[in-house]
């Protein structure tokens, strides 16, 4: 097996011929050897472009790409020792699963016995022995997915690239394949670069992730860190479901006071805030608690309850109007499934000081030193 290496991008930009905006904007990434690295972002943010640059299907307009220590910026895909699982799997339709998986080895004239040995090995890891003689047309989505994985695995490449490999599967299968991918990654110990627009997928699978928006890197780090300390309100709202609530407030008399509302929240102890400073407060739905009336908190009226089994999500509107909300028109919070609030109930919400994330009005993280 080839030695496991990482990928480094240095100042990679990409402007497509004919495109007037940059698909990627000076991206610096450090993907460690053996990492399960997710590239996460909304549609059109440049995830696929980034992956294709790593693969060598596109050349960067500026910047360099390294695989391990090797500068591969000018190398063709063939010379990079990578394998890719395509979003549509890209299985050769006229070949059986076995032929699909071994095509690369046959191209490189690997001895027949060796091919047979590796095929058997890969097929047994993936549990697809019974499918080997079938053509892709006769396979289900999940089975095709496995064959595509097998085709990538059999070569024992240095890097695995995957472009939304699970997005064509139904929910149940997707969860199952998630577990499988995780298991495979651990078993093989290879470096995986995984593109997805599904934050839950990225959160559960990756050891590290990067969030992209409009071709610009927003944040990079382990999922729990990105979740806990989002770099800006875009990351804050993109990661976590349902999204973080964002409230407008300003500092008055050492307390955070809502716009238009007059309700106040306790200030986080470690934040050095200036009197009169305007802020955005981010608070996750599960951090909002229903306080007792008159204790001071955000007064809201229940509009809707979503039952999700173990939890309920309660959607409510601020009594004092929506001026205190930032780019959203309702507040969501989480309760136990047994707790039910009839529509129209008036509640007061509060949160522990350390559950609050502070951002500047322009959306950058504030609770670092000013």
């Amino acid at each position: 097996m080839s030695e496991i290496v990482g990928v480094t991008l240095q100042g990679v930009s990409k402007t497509y011929a004919g495109g007037n905006v940059a698909a990627l904007n000076t991206i610096d990434l450090e993907i460690r050897a053996g990492a399960f690295f997710s590239i996460l972002g909304p549609s059109g943010c440049g995830k696929t472009t980034l992956l294709r640059i790593i693969a060598g299907f596109e050349y960067p307009s500026a910047g360099r790409v390294f695989i391990g220590e090797r500068d591969v910026t000018a190398l063709s895909p063939r010379e990079r020792d990578i394998a890719m699982v395509f979003q549509d799997y890209a299985l050769y339709p006229h070949m059986t699963a076995a032929q699909n998986m071994t095509f690369n080895l046959r191209n490189r004239r690997v001895p027949k016995a060796e091919i047979a040995r590796r095929l058997a090995e890969t097929a047994s890891i993936l549990g697809i022995e019974p499918l080997l003689h079938k053509r892709p047309a006769l396979l289900s989505g999940g089975e095709r997915q496995r064959v595509a994985l097998g085709r990538a695995m059999i070569r024992k490449p240095q890097i695995f690239l995957m472009d939304e490999p699970l997005s064509n599967l139904d929910l149940k299968l997707r969860e199952q394949m998630r577990i499988e991918l995780s298991r495979l990654h651990q078993a093989l110990g290879v470096t995986v670069v995984f593109v997805t627009h599904d934050q839950a997928e990225a959160m559960t699978l990756s050891s590290e992730l990067a969030v992209l928006r409009g071709g610009t890197l927003q944040q990079m780090g382990p999922p729990d860190r990105v979740y806990a300390r989002p770099a800006n309100i875009f990351v804050a709202r993109f990661i976590g479901s349902p999204s973080m609530n964002l409230l407008r407030a300003s500092v008055r008399g050492g307390r955070l006071v809502m716009e238009s509302e007059g309700t106040a929240l306790p200030v986080p102890a470690d934040a050095r805030l200036q009197e009169g400073e305007a802020l955005l407060i981010g608070v996750r739905p599960h951090d909002l608690k229903v306080g007792r009336k008159g204790e001071g908190g955000l007064a809201v009226k229940v509009a809707l309850t979503e039952h999700l089994g173990r939890h309920n999500f309660v959607v409510c509107h601020p009594v004092g109007g929506t001026a205190c909300l930032h780019e959203q028109d309702a507040i969501q919070f989480e309760t136990e499934a047994s707790v039910r609030y009839p529509v129209g109930t008036e509640l007061e919400l509060s949160a522990a000081p350390d559950a609050l994330r502070l951002f500047t009005p322009s959306g950058e993280r504030r609770d670092e030193a000013p």
Binding site: A55, P77, R78, F86, Q87, A90, P93, H94, N107, A137
Partner: protein, 317 residues
């Protein structure tokens, strides 16, 4: 009014489960179809019957004697004539050579244009490459006859500049047939090119990219990916071209009329000459029936061979 009432009773009968429909009612659909069937028979079967009938008679349009029934004589004399045997061979040489050239060239051109598809100006190249199809065959033939002209034709002019001996393209018996094949290749390669190119565009880009990652050489890409992908389309193009090539005659008649000697004398030319130069309608009809049978046999055999391979009707995805 009466019609409407009858229709109403019929509907009522159907509705109540009774099936007492008048015979006239049952005949109505057949009667309505009858005119089209008659026209169809007259247009398709009619000429065919007439052709067979003609083939069984001796008839020369220059003589006033009425057609005389001769049974299979016309076929007999056709089969034993050396002209027929020569024509058969020439026809096959013409068809097979042109077919091979058109396929190889069409494929290479399509692969080339497809590979360079992202370069600017490729759309213009594509259009230019397809224009020969738009030229009427007879115009193409006349045009090429001028270009082939030994003394002032453009081809020999260029050869003269380079200092290569100038052949008499259409007058040299060793060259004539191939010079005509070149015209057909010029005109119909674009057809193959266009369809193959369309097939290549239909292949998802990711398949080629997967092949690239799999370290597939450009040649193996064609043999292991492109060709299997649209085998069926290729087969249909092959059939269409073959039928056309076996029947080709305007281009020959407009250039050499089968000559020099019998160098380009194919079966369709034989039919044309017998009918419209010698006016022996019986012999011409017999020859054209033989041509029809040959084309039919070739096509049937090909389709058989292909469907046995499982190309026809095989799901692609």
């Amino acid at each position: 009014m009466r019609l409407r009432r009858r229709r109403a009773t019929e509907l009522a009968a159907v509705g109540s489960g009774q099936s007492r429909v008048y015979r006239g009612e049952r005949l109505a659909p057949a009667l309505m179809l009858a005119p089209s069937v008659v026209i169809l028979l007259a247009l398709v079967i009619g000429p065919f019957v007439f052709l067979i009938d003609t083939a069984l008679h001796r008839q020369n349009l220059f003589q006033t004697t009425p057609p005389r029934y001769v049974g299979a004589d016309n076929f007999y004399y056709l089969f034993i004539s050396t002209k027929f045997q020569v024509a058969l061979v020439r026809m096959l040489v013409f068809a097979v050579t042109a077919l091979a050239a058109e396929f190889v060239l069409g494929f290479v051109l399509a692969a080339w244009v497809h590979r360079l598809r992202d370069l600017p100006g490729m759309a213009i190249v594509r259009t230019l490459l397809t224009t020969p199809i738009l030229v009427a065959p007879i115009v193409a033939a006349v045009m090429w006859r001028f270009m082939y002209q030994p003394d002032f034709g453009v081809i020999n002019y260029i050869l003269g500049l380079v200092g290569i001996p100038k052949p008499g393209w259409l007058s040299d018996p060793d060259i004539a047939l191939f010079a005509i094949i070149a015209i057909d290749v010029w005109q119909w390669t674009p057809f193959v090119f266009l369809i193959v190119l369309a097939g290549m565009y239909a292949i998802p880009r990711s398949l080629y990219e997967a092949a690239k990652l799999d370290g597939t050489s450009p040649w193996r890409q064609i043999t292991h990916l492109t060709i299997p992908w649209f085998k069926r389309v290729l087969v249909i193009v092959l059939l269409l071209r073959l039928i056309d090539l076996l029947r080709a005659f305007e281009v020959i008649v407009a250039t050499t009329q089968g000559g020099p000697g019998d160098a380009s004398y194919t079966l369709p030319v034989l039919v044309w000459e017998t009918a419209f130069v010698n006016f022996q309608m019986g012999d011409a009809a017999a020859a054209s029936l033989v041509l029809l049978v040959i084309v039919t046999i070739v096509i049937t055999l090909l389709i058989r061979a292909i469907s046995r391979q499982g190309v026809v009707g095989q799901g692609r995805r």
